[in-house]
């Protein structure tokens, strides 16, 4: 089993519902966020192309945060999800420094926090809050080891990219382009 997310940049309108859904679901403190919207504009006027991306932790296969963590608080659990065990985190910041996506932050309570793919929801068979809330249904979450899952189908049929693959992280958020 290997969980991953595919996000259709052609369907995303950048409404930030995923951001708010995550903040609500996970009690993210005010001023912080586990996911965010990036907007890139390519080209020169009048030939402009906009790409909207909902970004978050990439749940990397070779996660630098897990490698650099001195206590093992950052770890990969079943399904390839990268999590931080709050009671093992000392707040040294090594994982924040090591993340090419800057997807982690220090929670006001001291430990380091980030996207968990809504592990508590996934365990109950639900979709992550961001995926469930998306009004354009542009996000697909599921098991890429299962050839019959919706996400496997999307990745087989659509052109795609990952962010900074040159960082050697083998990210598991795919952007359909």
């Amino acid at each position: 089993m290997r969980y991953a997310m595919a996000i259709d940049t052609l369907k995303c309108v950048g409404c930030s519902d995923c951001v708010v859904a995550c903040q609500t679901e996970n009690n993210v403190p005010i001023g912080y966020c586990r996911d965010w919207i990036t907007e890139t504009v390519d080209g020169t006027y009048p030939q402009l192309e906009i790409e909207l991306r909902s970004e978050r932790c990439n749940h990397c296969e070779t996660a630098p945060c897990v490698r650099c963590c001195p206590t093992g608080a950052s770890q990969i659990v079943d399904g390839g999800i990268v999590i931080v065990e709050h009671d093992e985190c000392i707040g040294c910041g090594a994982c924040i420094e090591s993340c090419p996506y800057e997807a982690r932050y220090t929670h006001p309570e001291g430990y380091v926090d980030k996207c968990t793919f809504c592990l508590h929801r996934v365990k109950e068979g639900l979709q992550p809050a961001c995926v469930a809330a998306c009004p354009t249904k542009c996000m697909y979450f599921g098991d890429i080891d299962d050839p019959n899952s919706e996400i496997s189908h999307m990745l087989k049929t659509r052109k795609q990219k990952t962010l900074a693959p040159e960082a050697g992280t083998n990210p598991h958020i795919f952007y359909l382009i």
Binding site: I37, E39, L48, P70, A73, G91, C92, I96, S98
Partner: protein, 316 residues
């Protein structure tokens, strides 16, 4: 052509607009850790060669610094932890892949030895103290006991101080997300810089002309190696990928250029090297001046690397 990149709905403290999570406590610690490692390395080496009488500054006077430097450095590190009460978790596990884990365990070994080393000279620091009276008699016995194991401590210190010195660099170079840090030269470079500052501290505290001359020579060689390593680090970046080119730009024309070239390269390395050469060929130069410049340059180097490294990142 990429015209614009907007990240909306995100303004994380210490992360946006660019990473600035690690501040002066980390830079100060990296400097003090390297300095302590340098002094203890030379003290151990002098002891193993049985030259204690000749190089008293290295074994007796300069070794007052490491326990203080390591204590201040460790306090700075603890101050920097945001989940402080869980710090004991560091010592629940040995993580071979994590340089910080290596450092934590090495410090657990080196710090107590640095204290024992200082304590072993207490009777010589305070010869007129009432060492024979009451409770002080027991202290005296303990000090004699420590002195018996001086060579054992020296044998432990030689490898462990090298690990401590090199780890201060590897701690940063292990972060592949920060292109300025992510080069394999940084470990040896910080080790050399630490040894150089250690030699400089010994020069400042030494009372013998011969010893100052000897450590000026050692320092000169170390400065040469350091300049060589810095050149190679920059060459490697200039021959690297786009992210490394942008990282080197910070030191070669960008934000940190003046600080790096004026305070680190010229005042911290080149100028003290010239002064030391003048001194060695017979001109009268107070040995303390190049030594203090080396110490100051070493500290500024750590501050620049920590601050500049966090700005560099992968672009996508």
């Amino acid at each position: 052509m990429k015209e614009e990149l907007i990240i909306s709905g995100r303004n994380l403290p210490h992360i946006d607009p660019h990473l600035s999570l690690w501040h002066w406590p980390i830079s100060l610690y990296l400097f003090l850790g390297g300095l302590a490692a340098g002094i203890l390395f030379f003290a151990a080496l002098v002891t193993l060669f049985r030259k204690e009488e000749k190089y008293l500054g290295a074994v007796k006077y300069a070794t007052i610094i490491p326990p203080i430097a390591l204590s201040v450095g460790l306090l700075a590190l603890l101050y920097d932890l945001t989940h402080l009460w869980y710090a004991w978790r560091l010592y629940m596990v040995i993580r071979i892949e994590s340089p910080m884990s290596w450092g934590a365990w090495t410090l657990l070994l080196v710090t107590p030895i640095s204290f024992l080393w200082m304590i072993s000279y207490f009777k010589e620091y305070f010869p007129n103290w009432k060492w024979q009276q009451g409770v002080w008699n027991y202290a005296s016995i303990a000090i004699d006991f420590i002195n018996k194991y001086k060579r054992v401590m020296a044998w432990i210190l030689v490898p462990s101080t090298i690990i401590l010195g090199i780890y201060t660099g590897i701690l940063l170079s292990a972060f592949n997300a920060r292109p300025l840090w992510n080069n394999s030269i940084l470990g040896p470079l910080f080790l050399t810089s630490g040894l150089s500052t250690g030699a400089a501290a010994i020069i400042v505290l030494s009372k013998s002309h011969d010893e100052r001359r000897m450590f000026s020579m050692i320092d000169l060689v170390l400065i040469g190696i350091e300049l060589f390593l810095i050149t190679h680090m920059l060459m490697g970046m200039l021959a690297g990928s786009q992210v490394q080119l942008e990282a080197s730009e910070l030191l070669l024309g960008g934000e940190f250029t003046v600080a790096f070239w004026v305070f680190v390269i010229i005042l911290g390395l080149a100028f003290p090297a010239v002064l030391e050469i003048f001194e060695l060929i017979g001109y009268k130069v107070p040995a303390v001046i190049p030594a203090l410049l080396v110490l100051l340059g070493g500290m500024i180097f750590r501050f620049i690397m920590v601050d500049a490294g966090q700005i560099t990142r992968y672009l996508y």
